[in-house]
């Protein structure tokens, strides 16, 4: 189950998936920052998001489907299915007048709204397109690494499962052929890794275990890394806290007493979370056989650019051997 850590960034497509609210976008952005630090030309593609990834990287979100540069080797993009379909049609229908007639027709709009799986398929198609895209001025690939910030678990499975479903339904036509190309990329362990993000709590861990099994057994896609976000690790001594709590009634000043009581409560909370996290980290170790990084909980008033940098440093330290971090790697 081990690979040399740095090879994660040798894949062309890193998918970041997990339950809603566990910090997928944060981890995707931090991974992007680490990849860019390694000298990889990196694109972070946020699927169906509200521009949160751009915000976390400190730039205004660009138009849907367009890369917005963050710095020379790092860009961010919002991806959405119907915009991706329009872009795809533009590529396969070179005549603008026809294209316009098609896209603006009511039938097309009904069709796009109703056709099952079409938006999911086009989203994956757009990600594939970016991962394979050639920079015409240099003849090289435009991106070394594309990081897909996927929707929440259930929806992720739907997105990632769509190429196979489409391939099985439409074997013979263009959709069948295009789906096969998507599948080739998604299922290639040399080029793709599905990474899971969770917090070490009951419900997110349940979902993560299920996602892990389904990616492995149903989607049959290569799994990469497990990121356990927001872990608490206090080692404070419970007996000391109990002793302190017993002393509280002796404090005469009610304000002092309230402040000290609150200090006790907060330490109890921290110890409570640490213990929950420990329990579920053990469960993850048993049931999700992937290389794992823990990202400590960050105590902050607001989560923004600076916090992403901290997470990136944590992830970088756990993923990349110290020797490699000291100098930047160019394209090999």
């Amino acid at each position: 189950m081990k690979y040399p850590a740095a090879t994660l960034f040798d894949r062309r497509l890193l998918i970041v998936a997990g339950k809603g609210g566990v910090g997928k976008t944060t981890i995707a952005c931090a991974l992007g920052v680490v990849a860019a630090q390694l000298g990889k030309r990196t694109l972070i593609a946020e699927v169906d998001g509200a521009g949160r990834a751009a915000y976390l990287l400190g730039v205004q979100p660009g138009a849907i489907g367009e890369a917005r540069p963050v710095r020379p080797s790092l860009s961010v993009m919002s991806v959405e299915g119907s915009a991706a379909l329009a872009e795809y049609l533009e590529i396969i229908l070179p005549v603008k007048r026809v294209l316009h007639a098609v896209v603006s027709s009511r039938l097309y709009q009904y069709f796009v709204a109703a056709a099952p799986g079409l938006k999911e398929l086009m989203t994956i198609g757009k990600i594939w397109y970016e991962a394979e895209r050639i920079d015409e001025s240099t003849g090289n690939r435009l991106w070394d690494v594309v990081i897909m910030d996927a929707p929440a678990t259930g929806h992720s499975l739907q997105y990632l499962g769509m190429p196979r479903a489409a391939h099985d339904v439409f074997r013979s036509g263009l959709v069948g052929r295009e789906s096969q190309r998507l599948l080739d990329l998604l299922c290639d362990p040399e080029r793709t890794a599905v990474n899971l993000v969770t917090t070490a709590e009951e419900m997110p861990v349940n979902e993560t275990v299920e996602m892990y099994q389904r990616v492995r057994d149903e989607l049959r896609m290569p799994l990469g890394h497990l990121f356990v976000n927001r872990t608490h690790h206090t080692t404070f001594d419970a007996a000391t806290l109990d002793r302190l709590e017993r002393q509280l009634p002796k404090l005469r000043d009610p304000d002092v007493r309230a402040a000290a009581a609150e200090a006790v409560n907060r330490m109890r909370e921290e110890m409570g979370w640490s213990s929950i996290n420990r329990t579920y980290l053990e469960r993850l170790a048993d049931e999700v056989r992937l290389p794992r990084s823990e990202v400590p909980f960050i105590f902050t008033e607001e989560f923004g650019v600076e916090q992403v940098r901290v997470v990136a440093a944590e992830i970088g330290a756990s993923l990349i051997p110290a020797a490699r971090r000291t100098h930047k790697h160019g394209r090999s």
Binding site: K19, G20, G21, V22, T25, A50, A101, V102, S105, L107, Y110, F111, A113, A114, P116, G117, E120, P151, G154, Q158, G161, A165, A166, D168, V169, F170, R171, S172, G173, L174, V175, G176, E202, M203, P204, N206, T234, F236, D237, T240, L244, Q247, D253, D255, A258, A259, A260, E262, A263, R266, M267, E269, G272, W273, I276, F299, T300, E301, E302, F303
Partner: protein, 372 residues
């Protein structure tokens, strides 16, 4: 402004909406326990409870109705729970509405259906609402509390019935239900250049055999959903009636709040009634209240109480860290409140550090939800 208790009393349906991971399921269960405790016969429709919560509520099988584990003050018959099936929602729809076993099998065995039914729009949400309508009409409960399916956006739940209706809209279905080689298709393709072009492309794209399957699928479906539109209208009537109140469940995180804000606006646009917002996992800042001066000296206070200097410092540091979280949560909730209409109740439930998965655990939320 009405408190949450008044809101529960004044309605027969409470819908807990919100984005994923904010504690909707637990909150819905907690509201139901409170209603049962105050003597109302209550049903909670739940989606994906933690195993222990499901056990506590007495629901073991998906689709089954169970009675909650009896606790001291709640007689068994006062609190029931029902666990909705998320996965086979479309299969259920088909089985429920198919006019004959033959049509049912034709749909369930259709290649197109088998591979793609999970991505048909809104089936889970629609099933939840349809079951809600049935329970409501049967009238066996004084109050039904609904936990909504995890959606990408909280709003999906409200729009699902409409989207499902659109999916089965005659104007769309019409194009697919015509047998593929029929004369009318051929004519249409000749008459309308855009349509002709589109279908030629569609043929290239999908292959003719697949198109035939798609066409067969929609032919079978069209019979199934005769009279579907009146049902969707009925669903919206119920969601808009005086009997129904929406409760938004949120957490004080940036992205949750920006979605919550949009949800609040949209609920009003749809003429549905948002009555309360419940924030879970809230940290409170202490230095804003009357203890401000003392809290600032916390390091010194703790040094006097805890002989070990390192331990005292660690306690003080932990205090300060949670203070920072509290300040952020407080500022965001305050900003959010300013956007809400005055008649919406806002409640804050602290961040519990133990899992809330027993009926007693659910009751632990009550002081924060129902304080006078």
């Amino acid at each position: 402004m009405a408190g949450l208790d008044d809101i529960l009393r004044a309605h027969r349906i409470i819908i807990c909406a919100g984005s994923g991971g904010v504690g909707k399921t637990t909150t819905a269960a907690s509201l139901a326990v409170h209603a049962a405790l105050s003597g109302r016969r209550t049903m909670v429709m739940t989606i994906d409870p933690a195993k222990r919560l499901a056990n506590a509520l007495g629901v073991r099988a998906v689709g089954g109705i169970g009675s909650a584990v009896a606790v001291d003050e709640i007689p068994r018959e006062m609190l029931s729970a029902m666990m909705l099936d998320q996965k086979g929602a479309w299969d259920q729809l088909v089985e429920r509405h198919a006019p004959s076993a033959e049509v049912r099998d034709r749909i369930l065995n259709n290649n197109f259906y088998r591979h793609l039914s999970q991505s048909f729009a809104g089936s889970q949400e629609y099933m939840a609402i349809e079951q809600l309508c049935e329970l409501h009409d049967a009238g066996a409960y004084d109050l039904i509390v609904v936990d909504t399916p995890p959606t990408r956006h909280a709003l999906d739940f409200l729009e699902a019935p409409q989207r499902l209706a659109d999916f089965l809209d005659r104007r769309v279905v019409k194009w697919f239900v015509r047998p593929y080689f029929s004369a009318s298709w051929a004519t249409m393709r000749l008459v309308n250049r855009t349509v002709g072009f589109l279908f030629r492309r569609l043929e290239d794209a999908t292959g003719i055999s697949a198109l035939v399957e798609v066409s067969e699928f929609f032919t079978s479906m069209s019979g199934l959903f005769e009279g579907f539109e009146p049902r969707v209208r009925r669903v919206y009537e119920l969601l808009r009636s005086d009997e129904t109140a929406f409760v938004l469940v949120a957490s004080p995180e940036e992205q949750v709040l920006s979605e919550a804000e949009y949800f609040c606006r949209k609920v009003r646009d749809l003429h549905m009634s948002l009555r309360a917002v419940i924030f879970n996992r809230v940290h409170r800042e202490m230095t804003r209240g009357r203890h401000a001066a003392r809290a600032a000296d916390i390091g010194q206070i703790l040094r006097q109480l805890v002989p070990d200097e390192a331990q005292a410092a660690s306690l003080a540091e932990n205090f300060a860290r949670y203070e920072i979280l509290g300040r952020g949560d407080g500022l965001r909730i305050e900003a959010f409140r300013r956007l809400l209409p005055k008649d919406v109740a806002v409640l804050e439930v602290p961040n519990f550090n133990s899992d809330v998965h027993s009926v007693d655990g659910l009751r632990a939320m009550h002081p924060f939800l129902f304080a006078a």
